[in-house]
Symmetry: C2
Subunit: 303 residues, 2 copies
Amino acid sequence: MKFEVLILGCGAAAPSGRNLPSAQLINLRENYLLVDCGEGTQLQLRRYNVKFQRISHIFISHLHGDHYLGLMGLLSSMHLLGRRTPLVVYSPPGLEEIIRLQMKISESYLEFSLTFIELPCNEELLIVNEQAFEVRSFPLRHRLKCSGFVFKEKPLLPNISKEMIHEFKLDIEEILQLKHGKSIVNRDGLLVEPKQVLLPIPETKSYAYCSDTVEWENVIPFIRNVSLLYHESTFLETEAKRAVETWHSTASGAARIASKAEVKRLMLGHYSARYSDLNCFLEEASRIFPNVILAEEGRVLEL
Amino acid sequence: MKFEVLILGCGAAAPSGRNLPSAQLINLRENYLLVDCGEGTQLQLRRYNVKFQRISHIFISHLHGDHYLGLMGLLSSMHLLGRRTPLVVYSPPGLEEIIRLQMKISESYLEFSLTFIELPCNEELLIVNEQAFEVRSFPLRHRLKCSGFVFKEKPLLPNISKEMIHEFKLDIEEILQLKHGKSIVNRDGLLVEPKQVLLPIPETKSYAYCSDTVEWENVIPFIRNVSLLYHESTFLETEAKRAVETWHSTASGAARIASKAEVKRLMLGHYSARYSDLNCFLEEASRIFPNVILAEEGRVLEL
């Protein structure tokens, strides 16, 4: 089942002409989840033909403009284009006040239910718990209160191979019982046990989002073993001092975190506008953690 | 001397995929004036290679999102890229509260002086009075308090033709005195009067901006005889009822205003996303007012 990430923007705060500010769309088993929403996100969603009314949850990591300034316009457009389905926005405290003030001053309203949920950003929290997936928030270390997120599939019921269905002449009711771990007696009076027929459950995949943050080992327990880690790398290691001063990470720092957390794959992003060649990020990180890729606008990552 | 308008965005509120929300950059004798600042304006400024630190004044017609949501990001970028020169923003009341709240919550500040001037939007006002140009605001009629603007060159000193300078052997001091209307006696003892040598003063040009508004004859005295009128035309006349309901104009309505105000040229814009072919706007308006053009992103109008 589908679990993919579409990069809508992966630049840092100062405009670069190359990258747009942070935003990613996650399709998690046909649930559309938006992570961060920098200025221009609604234009990017349109550019990549995303049906943005299908977005059900929006996760804002922190309230620096390059991570949320596209939200007001996106909400307005959702309203203007007839949205009626509820929307939930998770963010550090303050975003609801910003949005409600703008709506008051523009004397506008929304035809759909909009709920803001404030993240304390000081502990791990299970914030979405659906049948098919869950989302946890956890603290990052940045100048401003900032939250990372882990998106995780929940296990599906195990499958039964066609051969076994044929061999034991199983009907739909029997298949369901076996999938739920119950033994059955089939039409030939034969006892069939789950362990005889069930295939292994496919591994569940998970995606962790860490932007913006210093290189901070405290995040490791929250992101350990994820299938894909997005970790900001605003700078290269030559600017390590500047990275610390501005509460950001380097490509090496992101790779060290990925390595220690034993994630499967690392994606870099949030590049400072000062770098003209992004391959330097890839080269630097891959010396520490080989399975690394670069975020770029329009790129789709399948987990 | 230069007087031109660069269209950065000319769509209506609902995103169209074709047009961006409202924004125009006016170069008035090398003064950079931004009119409206919809989401994505800073990206457009970058796209068209505008040195946006040179913007000295920003004029926001009203506080619907498609006219101001790009301001916070633009201000942040100006700060991040080292701006130190002051900036003045004119708008209906409420914008300063929105910007200051966002800066407070993001714990950010600006290194340059930012002044907000509130427009009452119920009378004509001279709001900028520089040596080279002036700007007046005047009321439009929209759902929300809304202001139009007229940008006008001030007369330059008259010139003296090269032939006359040669014939009367004028030096720089004598030329300046004549330009200021004073007679002189030249090196041959000849009395030279201004009327003998001065060329006619070039006509001053003016640009009026009317977005968003119903078709409203009260604006005519404020925009009479301007060189170029931008007047919104969200709809075609087939949607005249909808135009009134939503406090907007049709292409015909814009043309009627242009005709009654005896402007030299009309530019249409603020097109609803429902129309796939914008030439219908041109055709409809030109039946009433022939000298009409369409705003489109990237178009530069010389006055």
